[in-house]
Symmetry: C2
Subunit: 395 residues, 2 copies
């Protein structure tokens, strides 16, 4: 059976990451995604290194399963193509700065005229409204302004950015949820609508409980390295050959843990009797545990913890992650064959459906690879017009 | 108009974070979410500090807008209630360790018998399949095993956990996408299905391009603090009173930037002529920029960068984030009134719909607050049976 979204047609005007991550999910789930790209150069991320042959690994990863059609949005005949596709589409996704689509004549107000059932999703740094709406932004800027950096880092004076562009990516996944919800509403009302998603809003909503904590106790949360704010021992420790994470989530696990590491003396120590006491004497607890855990290799510890049912794991680098038998068993590493770059690996789909299985449909497209298929077969533009459209710079 | 998911009934068997974050989004979007809790103590997170009055700030934040019904899943009459609700539900969400629902008689195989249209979503650490499937896990363990820690941190030897539980949270949002997609498929096929989401898979899929890069160039990605791997200057810098983020994304911005900071000399420096050269001479570039940027206050710099259109922003702590006029204008701080804890603040909904507006429906429930409403009014259990059900420990 095809993917769960096999009935959807998505027109994708977005570039680089937030919008393309959203449409990647939609394509993975079976939607037909037509990506509109600037003639000549295409999506900026086609130039992001490293390259495999002449193709960007970045672009190929985020744009697998989509179709590429070139159209110059500033050329009247390029715009005409986009309007025709919008008429046909269930969903439009864009991530221009607010105001740009209006100037192009491709705003929601413009497109709902040709297609009142359209779901029009905009993913931007700050959203379509508010005093900072038109401010330029990048993931780094949003991570800084959202507070996520202020609670991530090795110590309270060293805020650190998350190593992947999570502000873009969270914006992409929330845009996806917004689209699917609006489609559900359309099934009831018959009407489309606009969904406005801001990276800053998304990051605020995933701070877990930092806002709730601060507004209740007035204590500004700070980076606390790999520790847990209220459970101990629950942190990274250094074994003789590398780091391991250990999560002793309750007193039963604490009892088991002390036995496994052969430190029954700690069970008798008044400073460590309860979780509250362990948090209060965290520095001395960590020091004494580091001394013990440093005496063996990480794999030995992990085997012992595994047997005892104590949650623990390695701090794997990317090379190690790719060897994890669980990740392989879950088909989370997918080999695709790209027409120019050949075989390459992309992360798989993290939602496993029992009946409408999500399968990555194809490798990322070459620039304009589907011009003929979409323009001629779908829109009915006479084939002989294509060279002319190319010559005038419309496609 | 009510939220876009106003027609959905969700039975929520999940606890703490991954599952509850998913059902929080569904409730925010208008779904009716009935949260099943253990009689007496309820969701573990009801005990997470800090408390406002007798209520956990954590629990109130993640469980706003849901209804609470107590049911002991191990008591036949508690289980009977859950089965009746499952018959009525569109969606069941659970995040027990794999195998637990089977032992309880509440697995997908059990529930699809009473309701073939049911979407049954499981959110776990490692998923329902694979060699590590039944291993215990926490967010910290998954962050370590997924590689996200290996690319986050102040230097290449110091992997750092993201400060919020993003493995749980990403699992929650992907579970939400899985559910909404499966509902769309059900609208076509008439049949429900199971959606199996693993925290580890989710984190792998949000590493951005780390896997694509490594598999193409063989270089294991490492933490690089707040820098960009291939663009410079694009990082955090220290002003005289604190940190600011600056994103000089291209050569045009570099020209403007040097003028704004009055360092036109850098434009003449052969080491910094192009982005590639700036990356090659990053250490000297950062050192000279830090010397200049350290001479003024962050607000002064930000005003200058704002005027010149150079993307820049502060590294705000949570107290500062709550003052951001953009966040206030976007209604991302919502005041709720809880029956016991009174007024408190939670993050708002990061998807803004033009027609089916998403509004947080109510504060988090007291334990069992909706027993009467759901059991009597919805399921038709005679009111006089409730004291008996309580007395035997079923609710």
């Amino acid at each position: 059976m095809p993917g769960p979204l096999a009935d959807l047609f998505v027109l994708d005007l977005s570039r680089v990451l937030a919008g393309p991550f959203c449409t990647m999910i939609l394509a993975d789930l079976g939607a037909q995604v037509v990506k509109i790209e600037r003639p000549g150069t295409g999506d900026d991320s086609r130039a992001f290194s490293p390259m495999k042959g002449s193709e960007s690994a970045y672009f190929m990863s985020i744009n697998r399963g989509k179709k590429s059609v070139t159209a110059n949005l500033k050329h009247p005949r390029g715009k005409e193509i986009v309007l025709k596709l919008a008429k046909h589409a269930d969903v439009v996704v864009e991530n221009f700065k607010p105001g740009v689509t209006k100037r192009l004549g491709l705003s929601y107000e413009d497109l709902k005229v040709v297609n009142p059932r359209l779901i029009y999703a905009s993913s931007t740094g700050f959203g379509q409204t508010g005093p900072l709406s038109e401010k330029a932004s990048y993931d780094l800027i949003i991570q800084g302004m959202s507070g996520i950096m202020s609670i991530t880092g090795p110590d309270e004076n060293t805020p650190i950015k998350v190593g992947s562009s999570v502000a873009d990516i969270f914006s992409g996944v929330f845009t996806c949820i917004g689209i699917l919800s609006a489609l559900r509403a359309r099934d009831r009302t018959g009407k489309g609508q606009m969904v406005d998603v801001a990276m800053l809003d998304c990051m605020l909503s995933v701070l877990e409980n930092a806002i709730a904590r601060f507004t209740v106790n007035g204590i500004v949360p700070k980076p606390i390295a790999n520790r847990h704010p209220s459970i101990a021992p629950f942190s990274s420790f250094t074994a003789s050959d590398g780091q391991i994470n250990i999560a002793v989530g309750n007193d039963t696990l604490w009892l088991k843990f002390c036995h496994v590491i052969n430190r029954q003396d700690l069970l008798e120590d008044a400073r460590y009797k309860t979780n509250d006491l362990r948090i209060r004497h965290l520095d001395s607890l960590i020091a004494t545990l580091e001394a013990t855990l440093g005496k063996r290799k990480s794999e030995e510890w992990l085997e012992l913890f595994e047997k005892a049912g104590i949650p623990a794991g390695k701090v794997d680098n990317i090379a190690e992650v790719l060897q994890n038998p669980q990740i392989i068993a879950r088909e989370m590493l997918v080999r695709l064959v790209h027409p120019s770059a050949g075989e390459h690996i992309v992360p798989g789909v993290p939602m496993k459906f029992s009946s409408t299985e999500a399968v990555i449909q194809q490798a990322a497209p070459l620039l304009g690879e589907h011009n003929r298929e979409i323009l001629v077969s779908l829109l009915g533009i006479p084939e002989e017009e294509l060279p002319e459209l190319e010559a005038v710079g419309a496609i």
